[in-house]
């Protein structure tokens, strides 16, 4: 079995990717502790015809190329963390992350299209790729911009022990 097949196996049964499956994907780049600001992380591991992330990026940090089924590849050292790609991705497969945002705290900014929206400062429950509660988090800000076209972006901090596991919050 090719690596592509085994990687997609769980995704095509569970509906979500295992972290181990992500690690087999060269295009998945989780920023390490050296990054001093949140940058985009892309969890797009299937070749679907789609490139709004590349089009949205104002600094050309995301490359797909002419064949729009190519997986997007980000250069996190160029990414400014503007979050335009986070809102542009029709798959809601992009978020921003920073491993060491504060003492034992990681940072995430993820797309959120449910109501009600959390309030700034609220304690929320952070969730993994299966929607399971992982740890508590604090909402730092909630961005609603016309540039994001009705996709809110929730910025939150959470226990850095769960840096990679957390991708969203439990819905309110």
């Amino acid at each position: 079995m090719s690596s592509t097949e085994s990687r997609e196996k769980r995704l095509k049964v569970d509906g979500a990717v295992q972290i181990s499956e992500l690690h087999q994907t060269a295009e998945y780049i989780l920023p390490d502790e050296r990054f001093t600001k949140p940058v985009a992380v892309i969890e797009c591991i299937e070749s679907i015809p789609c490139n709004p992330c590349e089009t949205a990026c104002p600094v050309n940090a995301i490359v797909i190329g002419d064949d729009i089924t190519t997986l997007p590849k980000i250069d996190p050292t160029i990414c400014t963390g503007c979050a335009l790609c986070v809102a542009a991705c029709p798959g809601l497969a992009i978020y921003l992350k920073q491993q060491h945002w504060g003492p034992s705290l990681s940072y995430i900014a993820f797309p959120y299209e449910y109501l009600p929206l959390p309030q700034k400062g609220a304690e929320v429950t952070m969730a993994n790729r299966w929607g399971e509660a992982v740890c508590s988090g604090t909402v730092i800000k909630v961005i609603k911009s016309s540039r994001f076209d009705r996709t809110a972006i929730i910025h939150a901090s959470y226990d850095s022990a769960f840096y990679e596991e957390v991708v969203t919050m439990v819905r309110l």
């Binding site: 995704l11 509906g15 542009a88």
Partner: protein, 367 residues
């Protein structure tokens, strides 16, 4: 009987029909767009999610906003639109019998007809399937996104293709719980990013499972799910119940071909694209050279593909009437063909691409 003449009549104002009408009008042709519904747009206005594709396909834009933009284009081009108008039949190759407002019959003598009648949802039947609360996923989507009515609170989704997972996501957005998504096949059908969206909202998937029975007194109250073996046979003793009040069926679509076949268009069987479809060439022309087809009626794909096919049909129908110089026509057709091919690229597009190639390759044999 009333009788009028128009150069191009487009039947169906969904993504394909709208784009066909716009492209034909831009090319210079006189266009009449007919739709049986009270509002144009077909299924576009219930697509509240951002579309895939590239900038050429308006990717990243929500379907309903694409619909608004197309209506604006149609208005600016002064395209004649008849709503509440049913195309009941096509006679003598190019005469369209239309009933307007369920009252007046009128025959439109067209030089070219573009059939963009879309598709209908498939159903599956099981004991209890006639109970109120069992409905097509598309029907539920219309209720929540167009009519703003939530038809239930706890949903079972049957089918994990893109329709099943997108509608599940939108049901969550509308405030419902999606208790389970079952898929008879051993693997999920929809894009991974769509399944991941509902999975991280806590919705469980059950592959190799289907709904065995719906229970309830007067409406759905519970459903029995059952596991399927590798031969798709129910595994005895694997049944379990879920508490749901609504069961959505998302088991694919079938092209709405009645008008096309009734008019004498030849058929070709395309299982990958929903069954029997009118055979057509790469310009979307059917075996009746005055009739073009576009969108789901020519093979079920997605709205983005339907829009590109509609543009191709509109362009080519207009060109066949002498509009646009050869150079401008060929250049535009090249762009549109590239756009539609881009949407059929990659692992998800391969089956559809091969199926379309087969339909086009069958064209010569049917002429």
């Amino acid at each position: 009987m009333n009788q009028i003449k128009r150069e191009i009549v487009v039947i169906g104002s969904g993504p394909a029909g709208l784009c066909a009408a716009i492209e034909a009008a831009r090319s210079g042709a006189q266009v009449l767009l007919i739709d049986e519904n009270a509002k144009p747009g077909g299924q576009l206005f219930k697509q509240i999610h951002k579309f895939f594709g590239s900038a050429d396909h308006r990717a990243g834009v929500r379907g309903l906003d694409i619909g608004e933009a197309l209506l604006k284009d149609a208005e600016e081009l002064k395209i004649e639109v008849w709503l509440n108008s049913e195309a009941c039949g096509i006679f003598d190759s190019t005469n369209v019998w239309v009933v307007r407002d369920k009252q007046h019959s009128i025959t439109v003598q067209a030089q070219r007809i573009i059939i963009a009648t879309g598709a209908v949802e498939n159903s599956i039947n099981f004991p209890g399937w006639t109970l109120p609360g069992v409905m097509g996923a598309g029907a539920a989507q219309t209720m929540i996104n167009v009519n703003r009515v939530l038809p239930g609170h706890r949903f079972l989704m049957v089918g994990s293709g893109n329709v099943g997972v997108i509608v599940s996501y939108q049901l969550l957005q509308a405030g419902a719980a999606v208790v389970a998504i079952v898929e008879a096949a051993p693997t999920l059908g929809g894009y991974g990013v769509h399944t991941a969206k509902v999975r991280r909202a806590g919705v469980p998937f059950y592959t190799s499972h289907t709904v065995k029975e719906a229970h309830g007194n007067g409406h759905v109250e519970r459903a029995t799910l059952v596991r399927l073996d590798e031969k798709w046979k129910e595994v005895a003793g694997s049944e379990f119940e879920v508490e749901v009040d609504t069961i959505c069926i998302a088991t694919g679509l079938t092209p709405a071909v009645e008008l096309a076949f009734g008019s004498g268009c030849m058929a070709v069987n395309s299982p990958a694209l929903g069954g029997l479809v009118p055979v057509h060439d790469e310009t979307m022309r059917s075996s009746n050279t005055a009739i073009y087809v576009a969108g789901d009626v020519s093979g079920v794909e997605e709205a983005s593909t339907a829009m590109e096919e509609g543009r191709i049909a509109g362009l080519c129908a207009a060109h066949s009437l002498g509009y646009l110089g050869q150079g401008a026509y060929e250049a535009r057709l090249g762009v549109l063909t590239r756009n539609v091919n881009a949407l059929r690229s990659g692992m998800f597009g391969q089956k559809r691409r091969e199926a379309k190639e087969y339909i086009v390759s069958s064209y010569g044999a049917h002429r």
